[in-house]
Symmetry: C2
Subunit: 225 residues, 2 copies
């Protein structure tokens, strides 16, 4: 990346930017590239790769755990302005687990090379601290997701999810497959299908080929609390 462009962007994203020497700033810029991920593309998969630190300029990424049998549990989603460090677990010694990240929507991402970030974290305590603080923020996201998955019934999680989606979009239709919904709420497709049929029999929703239409917002809202 060109130095001017880089400095302007990094000042926004990286709280340690001002703590770097000019040489370190230059090194960081030279170690960063812009990558376009098409919707559905895999950004990184477990511990097989060490992609680097991701700065999301636009679009949406999704980070999830994957079991050996292919079961997939969403941990968090990342949007414009977010920085993703778990894609660089190899650069922070205290991270000993591996997660996967996909592009949920087309995404423009700045990728800082993993070994360059590692080198800077070794040289500069502010870079190291930034990395661990970011990891701790994601820890909080993950704990929230886990609390939902472990302690909240699927009916409630599904109702909250549908409510959030129609609130965001302003439409009364959620255009997603049962498979996709299951991933977002950390459940299995069959469980979501069964629960949606139950909601439908109760007149809360109507199932269509392309997704789910909410018929009775009041009943749906009653499920939230």
């Amino acid at each position: 990346m060109s130095s001017d462009n880089c400095a302007a962007l990094f000042t926004q994203y990286l709280s340690f930017w001002e703590q770097l020497t000019p040489d370190q700033q230059d090194f960081l810029c030279r170690s960063t590239r812009e990558v376009h991920y098409a919707k559905g593309a895999s950004v990184h998969r477990g511990d097989r790769q060490c992609v680097g630190v991701l700065l999301i300029k636009s679009g949406q990424l999704r980070t999830y755990m994957l079991s050996e049998e292919g079961r997939d549990v969403t941990l968090y989603r990342l949007f414009a302005g977010d920085v993703c460090i778990l894609s660089a677990s190899c650069v922070l010694d205290a991270i000993t687990f591996a997660v996967c990240t996909d592009a949920e929507e087309d995404a423009e991402v700045l990728v800082i090379n993993a070994s360059a970030f590692h080198q800077l974290a070794d040289e500069n305590i502010y870079v190291k601290c930034f990395g661990y603080q970011l990891a701790t923020t994601r820890f909080s996201d993950v704990m929230w997701a886990m609390q939902q998955i472990l302690f909240m019934g699927v009916d409630k999680r599904l109702a909250i999810f549908l409510w959030d989606e129609i609130s965001k979009s302003g439409s009364s239709e959620v255009k997603m497959t049962h498979e996709q919904i299951a991933r977002y709420i950390g459940s299995a497709r069959e469980v979501v299908t069964r629960m949606l049929k139950y909601f439908a029999s109760d007149g809360i929703v109507e199932l269509s080929r392309g997704g789910v239409r909410i018929l009775d917002r009041k009943k749906l809202q009653n499920l939230l609390s």
Copy 2:
């Protein structure tokens, strides 16, 4: 705590100790007290308290998530030499969730006052970095626990748990209630009871009042892989 005693202990536990000014070292010692927790005692409960940073000298603590209905999922256990930062979630801004910790065995613990640690973390980047690095280590522990809970069948988790316990103790009996075992493996008592009965009907274990006796190690071992 007396300064000499304190310095000797903190050099072992706290990687930032040498980065503190003499005044900061003194302040940290004066802000630390020794606490004895009897087996079963509550060390901290969710976000209601901010106990501080815990340095475990001996014994065992257990950290868990608690649902509103009282369901309890073990996240990790802490032993002599471990440092616990999540009991001081109030001192690290990036930690926005609350967990509970109990003494699983009698424990001798050094407790660093939460607001003193907060002040030092604000003054000294090495203290802050230590805190977030420690939180990230626990994040790794939690991810391991979650992978077990979400992706592994109860039969396998129970078999692994029993195997670990008899390997550690050298005895063929695990003296715990089904309730306790359920907590350790992140399941419910009824589920554990059902699975133990199944193991018993298979001749793997024998159930007694005080716990579980392993009858067939070979069969138990077959369940591990």
